[in-house]
Symmetry: D3
Subunit: 326 residues, 6 copies
Amino acid sequence: MDTYIREICSLPVGTEFEGFFFIEHVEIKKHRTGEPYLKLILSDKTGTIPALWWKPPKDADLTIFQRGDVVFVVGHVEHFQQSVQPKLKEIRKADSKEFDSKKFISESRFSIEEQFNSLLEVIDSIENPFLKKLLENFFYDDSFVKKFLKAPAGKTIHHACIGGLLEHTLGVVEICETVAKRFKSIDRDLLICAAILHDIGKVYEYEIDVTISRTTEGILLGHLYMSCEMVTKKIDEIEGFPHDLKVKLLHCILSHHGEYEHGSPKKPKTLEAVTLAYADALDSRVKGFEEHIERELGTNKGWTRRHFAFEVPIFFDGNFNYGEEK
Amino acid sequence: MDTYIREICSLPVGTEFEGFFFIEHVEIKKHRTGEPYLKLILSDKTGTIPALWWKPPKDADLTIFQRGDVVFVVGHVEHFQQSVQPKLKEIRKADSKEFDSKKFISESRFSIEEQFNSLLEVIDSIENPFLKKLLENFFYDDSFVKKFLKAPAGKTIHHACIGGLLEHTLGVVEICETVAKRFKSIDRDLLICAAILHDIGKVYEYEIDVTISRTTEGILLGHLYMSCEMVTKKIDEIEGFPHDLKVKLLHCILSHHGEYEHGSPKKPKTLEAVTLAYADALDSRVKGFEEHIERELGTNKGWTRRHFAFEVPIFFDGNFNYGEEK
Amino acid sequence: MDTYIREICSLPVGTEFEGFFFIEHVEIKKHRTGEPYLKLILSDKTGTIPALWWKPPKDADLTIFQRGDVVFVVGHVEHFQQSVQPKLKEIRKADSKEFDSKKFISESRFSIEEQFNSLLEVIDSIENPFLKKLLENFFYDDSFVKKFLKAPAGKTIHHACIGGLLEHTLGVVEICETVAKRFKSIDRDLLICAAILHDIGKVYEYEIDVTISRTTEGILLGHLYMSCEMVTKKIDEIEGFPHDLKVKLLHCILSHHGEYEHGSPKKPKTLEAVTLAYADALDSRVKGFEEHIERELGTNKGWTRRHFAFEVPIFFDGNFNYGEEK
Amino acid sequence: MDTYIREICSLPVGTEFEGFFFIEHVEIKKHRTGEPYLKLILSDKTGTIPALWWKPPKDADLTIFQRGDVVFVVGHVEHFQQSVQPKLKEIRKADSKEFDSKKFISESRFSIEEQFNSLLEVIDSIENPFLKKLLENFFYDDSFVKKFLKAPAGKTIHHACIGGLLEHTLGVVEICETVAKRFKSIDRDLLICAAILHDIGKVYEYEIDVTISRTTEGILLGHLYMSCEMVTKKIDEIEGFPHDLKVKLLHCILSHHGEYEHGSPKKPKTLEAVTLAYADALDSRVKGFEEHIERELGTNKGWTRRHFAFEVPIFFDGNFNYGEEK
Amino acid sequence: MDTYIREICSLPVGTEFEGFFFIEHVEIKKHRTGEPYLKLILSDKTGTIPALWWKPPKDADLTIFQRGDVVFVVGHVEHFQQSVQPKLKEIRKADSKEFDSKKFISESRFSIEEQFNSLLEVIDSIENPFLKKLLENFFYDDSFVKKFLKAPAGKTIHHACIGGLLEHTLGVVEICETVAKRFKSIDRDLLICAAILHDIGKVYEYEIDVTISRTTEGILLGHLYMSCEMVTKKIDEIEGFPHDLKVKLLHCILSHHGEYEHGSPKKPKTLEAVTLAYADALDSRVKGFEEHIERELGTNKGWTRRHFAFEVPIFFDGNFNYGEEK
Amino acid sequence: MDTYIREICSLPVGTEFEGFFFIEHVEIKKHRTGEPYLKLILSDKTGTIPALWWKPPKDADLTIFQRGDVVFVVGHVEHFQQSVQPKLKEIRKADSKEFDSKKFISESRFSIEEQFNSLLEVIDSIENPFLKKLLENFFYDDSFVKKFLKAPAGKTIHHACIGGLLEHTLGVVEICETVAKRFKSIDRDLLICAAILHDIGKVYEYEIDVTISRTTEGILLGHLYMSCEMVTKKIDEIEGFPHDLKVKLLHCILSHHGEYEHGSPKKPKTLEAVTLAYADALDSRVKGFEEHIERELGTNKGWTRRHFAFEVPIFFDGNFNYGEEK
C-alpha cells in the first residue's frame, strides 16, 4: 500500500511501510568500515523526510539513483536525533506507469474537464472573427490543449498545481466579464481574448516532471515574452489579421504585470490592458492567500507565518472551503 | 438663456450672451485713471474663461463678489491677446434656486435611484444579523443617505461626480460578489459589508458646494480613518456586536488601499481584506482611465496626454460608451 | 534557588539546578522502546535552552504542559552535540504567585513611580482646559493607569520592557518641550498632549503574559488607529470639546510615524504633528540602538551584528550606562 | 536664402527674411472685424517662434495648413510683448524636394558611411556561423539597412539624430570588445551580436518625418519586445539555428535595460547580458550628458539646467569637441 | 527713501518712488524705431517686479548693467496687462556701502551676538581636551567666525538667512543635550562637538553676495565632505589627537543626513551619530515648516500650498510667533 | 605535505594528513569526565571543516589558540553525523614564515608585476603636469605601492583577492580609454587620473591578515571619503595645484558609485564623473558575475544559486577562461 510521508511521520518506531517517493537529494556515504550506504531525502506532496539505505547488497550500483527519480521503497520507521529517519531494506527505480503522479503534485480543485468546457463556451461567445480564429487556433489544437490543461500558473506563489493555469485563466476571465459589463467603452472581445491568452507562455515556462520547476528558457525570457511570441506566430498564420489589433492584444499581454517592478516592460495604456492587469492581480493574490492559509493552517484557525512574497502573516478564522470541488 | 463656457468660446466677437457662472478667482483692478474695475475668472463644468467688468457703476460695491460665488452675468465676446475675454455689462450674485447645479458638477452616468435600489437589495441579501443591522443603521437613516447619494468618490482621480461614491461602491460590490463565488472560504457577508462601507468617510472628506473640494478634516484625517470612526460609532450602538467581527471589518476598511505608500496604515491580512483592496483598485483605476479618456479626447480617438497620477498617456480607438446610461 | 539560563550554561556537566522557566516549545517524543518522553525549549529573559524529561513516571500526563506555561523544574546539566541540554528529574506547572515575572521580561531602567509623577506634573502644566480634561480623564482613571504603567512600547525594536511605554512617552515629551521653547508658533499644549497620547493604543496592541506578544487586534488595526479610537471616545464624553482641536490632535497621532511606508495613513501637515513625528523617531531610534548594543555586546566593546530593522551593525566603545537608574 | 530661426531672432525689427519651416501649431483666428488670420508656431532644429499671417488674401483657404507641414514663408521681423513675432506676407506648403531635411533634425556627427563600414567589419569578424548568418540577413538586406542607417536611438534622452542608432550601436560594440578582451569566459561572438541587434526595434519604435516621434506601436510595445520579435523572425528562417543560442541572444536583448524599473522584463542573468546592459548604460548616459551640455551651453562654459531624466545639472568647463567629425 | 517692492505694488498708478534693487535679469530691447531700451527684473527680499528703462539717454552704455548688480533707481508706477511694471527715469549701479544688505536677504530672528555667546558657553562645557581644542581652533579664529556667523544653513529649504547656520547649530545642540541627559551611554562631548561642527562646510557651500547661492564647489562636493575636510585639517594640527576619536567624529558628520538617499555616504552606526542625524532632521524640518507657513500665509491662517520638498501642504491656525526675537 | 581542505573531504576515513589552517572559530569544551578538549572550525580558501583536539596533553594551555591564528595540525579523517570531522593528534601555532598565504586568500589571475607596469605606462601618458605629479607622488612611493599591490577591491562582491584593487583599477582604466576616444569633449587626463585613484581608500578600508576583513575605519568612513582624504593630502603638497582641478577630481571620486543608494553623497555632474561611475559599475559587475560563476559552478555548467547582492541566479554554459593568466 502506497504510504504518504505525512502518515509515516506518525507511525510508531519499527513499523514497516512501502510506497513511491520522489528523490529530492541523494548521496553515497561510507560506513567507518569503508562500506558504502545511501543517504536520501524523499518527498511527496505532503512533506519531506531523510532516509537511509544502510546495508545495500554488495553488488548494488548505488550511482543509478538520481535527484528527480521516483523510487519504490520498503522500509521501517526509525528515529534519529528525535526525528523520523526510516531505514530502507529495498529500493528500486519506479516506472512512471506504476504510480499516480497526484501523489507528488496537487491538482486544481475544480474539474479540468468542466473548466475547459467553460473556456470553450467563452471562446464561442467572441464575436470579433480574427480574435475568435486566433483562440480557436490555440484551443482546437489538441497537442497545445494537452499541455495547457496540465500547466500550473506558478511554482510557489499561486495556482501551483496541475490545471492551475486553466483555473487562473477562468478566474481572470470571470472578473473581466464583470468589469466589461459595467464599463461599456471596453472592447469586451479584445479583453476576454487577452485574458485567455495572457499566461499561455507558462506552458513552456514551467515544466512538470514529477514536481513543478522552471525551465531555463522560462527563467531567461519569462512568460510575458513567451506568450507574445506564441501569439505572434499564430497571428502571422491568419490572413488579414489587423496590425493594430495585434499591437493592442500584445500590449495587453506585455503589460499585464502592471508595473515595471513586477516585470512588465510596459505599463498598461489602454482600458483593456489596465482591466486585465488589475483582474490578474486580484485573482492571483486571493488564490495566493488561500493557498498560504491552507498550507500553513491546514484545518486550524489563527495566524499563518509571514508570507515570503506578500510580506504579511495572514489571519483566518472562517470556514474552510478550499477543498475539492469536483 | 444659460450659456456654457464651451459655447462662448466659439461665438463670434461681439455676440451677446448671458448665464450663471462660478467665480474661480476675482480681483479689483484699477484703470490708469484710478477707476476700479473687476477682473474675474469664471467657470462651469465645461471650462474656464477670464472676464472683465470694465465699467461698473460708480456706486457699485465690488467687494461683495467672492471666490466660490455663483453669479449671473450679461456680456459680449471680446478677444484679448488672441484669447476669448468677454466684457460684462451686468453681474449679480445668483440665488441657489435660480440655477441648476448640474451646470457646475457632473453626475454619475447611472441613475442614482436605481443604483440605490440595487444597494438596498444587496444589503437585504446579507445573512449575518449584526452586519445587516449595521448596514441598515446607515442606509435606513435618511439624513445619512441624502449625503451618501450626493457624495463623490474623488476630486480628480476617479468618480469625481455627484453620485460617484454610490457608483463606485456598487462597482466594487459587483467585483467582490464575482470573487466570493469562486473562493468559497471567503466570508461573503463580511466582504460585501466591508465593500459597502469602505469609503463612507468620503461623505465628510469631500464637500460639494458648487464644485468638489476636500475639507480640512478630510485632508488631516482621510477617509480611511473617518470611515472607521463612523463604523465604530454605529457598532457601539448595536448590542452584542461581536468584538472580533468589528476588528475584522475595521481591518478591511483600514487596509483597503493595499499598500503603505497608498495611505493604508495596515496591509491586508485576511482573505476579505485582500479581496476588497484589489477590487477597489480595479474599479477605481478603470474608471480613472475612462474619465481621463473622456476628458482628454472627447469624441476623438488616439492618445491622451500623460495622466498625472497613473504616469502614462492612454490610447483609445474604440467605441464611446461612457455617456449617460439613465 | 531560582537559576537563570545564562548561569546554567556555564555550570559543569552533572551539576544539579532548579528554577522557574517559560515553555517556548514542547513536544511529546518516543524512545525506541515506545516509551514517551518530553522535549522542551525553556526560556527566561537571559536566553533559551533545550531540555529533556527523559524518564517521566509511567502515569504522568504529559499533555498538560503547553507553550506559554511557566514551570518549576529540577534537573542536572548534560551536553548533547556540544551544547547544553539538561535532563530534568522533576517538572510541574508553576502558580503565578510563586515566581517573579521580572525573570521573564525586563523592566524600564527608570523608576515607574517617579516617571509617572513626572508625567502627572506635565499634565498639570497644560493650560488648555479641554486638553487638560482629556488627559485627566485618561490618567486619573486607575484601571487605565494600571495598564499604561505596565505596557511596553514595543516587542523587539525599542522599549520592549515593562514600563517601556511610560519611559518612551516621557522621552518624547522632553524632546517636544525643548523644541517648543525654540519655536514659539507651536501650540505647546497641543503638542505635549499629543506626545502623551500618541502611543496609548499600545496598551491593547501588546499583551504581556509572561513575555510580550502582539494581540490579534493589534496586528489587524495597529496602535495608530487604536490610539485615535480611544481618544475619540474620551473626547466625545467632554462637553464642548472643539471639533477642530479634536481633528488637530487626531492628526498628530495618526501621522506620527511620519511616512506612509512606516504605517502612517497621513503625513504630518501641522507644526505640532511634524515635531511629534520627528521627536518620536529620535527617541525610539536612540533607544533601539542602546538596546541592541546591550543585547549584543553586554559589557564588551566593538561591533554588534547588523540590526534587522536599522540595517546596520553598531559600533560601541564607550562607557556603559544603560543599567538600572532606580 | 533659407534663414534659420536662431538668425531671425537676432535680425533688426523690419528686416525681410524667407525660408522653410516646420509647423508645430496652427490656429485660425479672427480680427475684430471678423476677418480671419493665421497664427502659427514655426520651428527648425535651432528653435521655435510664433508668427502671424495677418492679412491673407480674401480667397485663401487657411485650412490647408496643418501641424507637421513644412512651409515656405516670406515675412519681416516684428516684436510683440518684447518677443520676436514676425508677420508673414507669403506662405505656401513646401514640396519635400525643395528643402534640406537637415534643417529640421540633426545628424550623427560621424560619417554614416564610414560607421556602416565599421559595422560590416565587425560582422565579418564573427566566427559563430549562425550568429554571422543572422547578422548578414539583417545587414545585407538593403531595405532594412536603409531604415537602420536613418534611425535615431532616441527622441530626447540620447542619440536623438539621424544615424543616432548606428552611432550608439558602434559605441556599445566598442565597449563590449574592450570588456570581452579582459574577461575570457565571455562568449565574444554572442556578446557582439547582441550589441549589434539590441536596439534594432528602434527602427520601428521611432518615426522620422520631419522631426522624430514615437509610433503608437513603439509606445505600446517598446523596442525591447520589437527587437526580439524581429530577431525571432529572422532566426526562424535559418535552418538549424540552435534553440539555446536563440534563448541566450533574446535574453541579452530583453534584459539590456538592466533593471525592471527601466523597462526590462528580466534582469541580466548571463555574463553577456550583464556586459551588454552596463555597456549600453555607459554609452547612452555619456552621450546624453554631452547632448545636454551642447544644447544648454552651446559654446559657453558653466552649469546647465537640471536634466529632466538624469536629475542633475551638469558642469562643463572643458574644450568643446562634440562638433562634426566627418 | 528706500522703497520695498511689496510697497511699490500697492502704490497708485503714477506715484514716484526710489530705492535700491537687485537685478535678477536684464535684457537690451529695441523700440520699433530701432532705439534701444532696457527691460529688467528687479527684486528684494519682499518680491520681484519687471521694470522698463524706456528712454535712456542717447549716449548711455546699457551693457554695464548685469545680473547680480544692485542698482539705485528712480521711477513711477505703471500697469501693463494688469500687472505693475514701473518705468524708470534714472538708474545707476549702487556702491555696496550705500545700501543695507538686509533689504535683500533676511537675518536670523535671534540675536547673532547672543547666540554666539551661547555657542561659546557650550564649547566651554566640553571636557574632552582634544575636542575642546578642536572647537577652539575653529571658534577662536576670527576670520572663520566672521564667515560662520554670516552663513545660512540653506538656500531654500530651511534657515535660508544670514545667521541661519548659527541658529540651526544651536537648535541641534539643544536637542542633543536633552537626549544625552536621558541616555547616559552617549559620549556627550563627542555628540555636542559633532553637533557644532556637522554643517560647517556650509560656510563654503553657500555664497552670500546680495542673495544666497551655492558655489560650484558646494554643488560638486557638498557640505558633508567639505565639513570633514575642514575638520581633518584642523585635527592634523593638534598633536596627539586620537585616531579613533577622529574616525568617530568624522563618522558623525559624514552620516548626519541619516540615509543614503539624503546624501549620506554612510548610515549612522554609533549612538552619537544616530542621535545627531535625528536631531538635525527634527530641527531643520520644523524650521522648514515654519518658514513655509511664514512665506505662504504671512499673517493669515489656513492652508499653504504644497511644499516642494516635504510634499505636503501645511495647515496653520495658531498664533504667530516667528517674528523677530532680538 | 600541506593538504587543502577540499582534499581532506575526499580522503577515506582513517587517513592521516597534515597542513596549515586558519582558525575561524575555537571553543574549549569538556568531556563528561570534566577533561577539556578543543573544538575548532578550520578553513583555507577551498573551504571549511570542524575538527576536534580530543585528547590534549594534561598540561596543554588550550587558551592560546584564537580566532585568526594559523595553526599547523596533524590528524586523521573521521566522520560524525555523516560529515567529515577529523580528530587531531597535534596542533601548534604556525609562524607566518612557515606557510604560503596563498593557501588562504586567492590572488589576481593576472601577473601583479605586469599589471603594475601597465599602470605606470598609463601614468606616463598623462600630459597634465599636476595630475601626473599627483599620480607619481602616489605610485613612486614604495611604501604606498606595496600596500596598493596587495589590496583587494572587495570582501565578497568583486575582486576579493590579493591584487584585486590593481586588477579592477586597470579594468576601469581600459574602459575609460575606450570611451574617451569616442567622446572628444572628455578631459582624458582628468578621467584617467580619477580612474586610477577612485578606489585607493580601499588600501585602508580592507585589511588582509590571513583573510580579508573590513577595518573599523573602513566601515565608519568608507573608501569614497578615505580616497578623497588621501588625494587631498597629496594635492596640498603640490604647489600651484589648481583649486578647480582638485574639486573636479574629488567630485569624480566622491560620485563614482553613481547613485545615493549606492553610497555616493553626490551624483555625477561632469562628463568625466559620469564616465567613471558607469565604467566602474561595468567592470565590477562583470567581475562579480564571473567570480560567482566560478565559486558556485567550479567546472560545471548550468545555474548558480541566486547572488545575494545582484539578486539573480546566473546561467553559464560557456567555456571556462577565468583561471590563471600569468
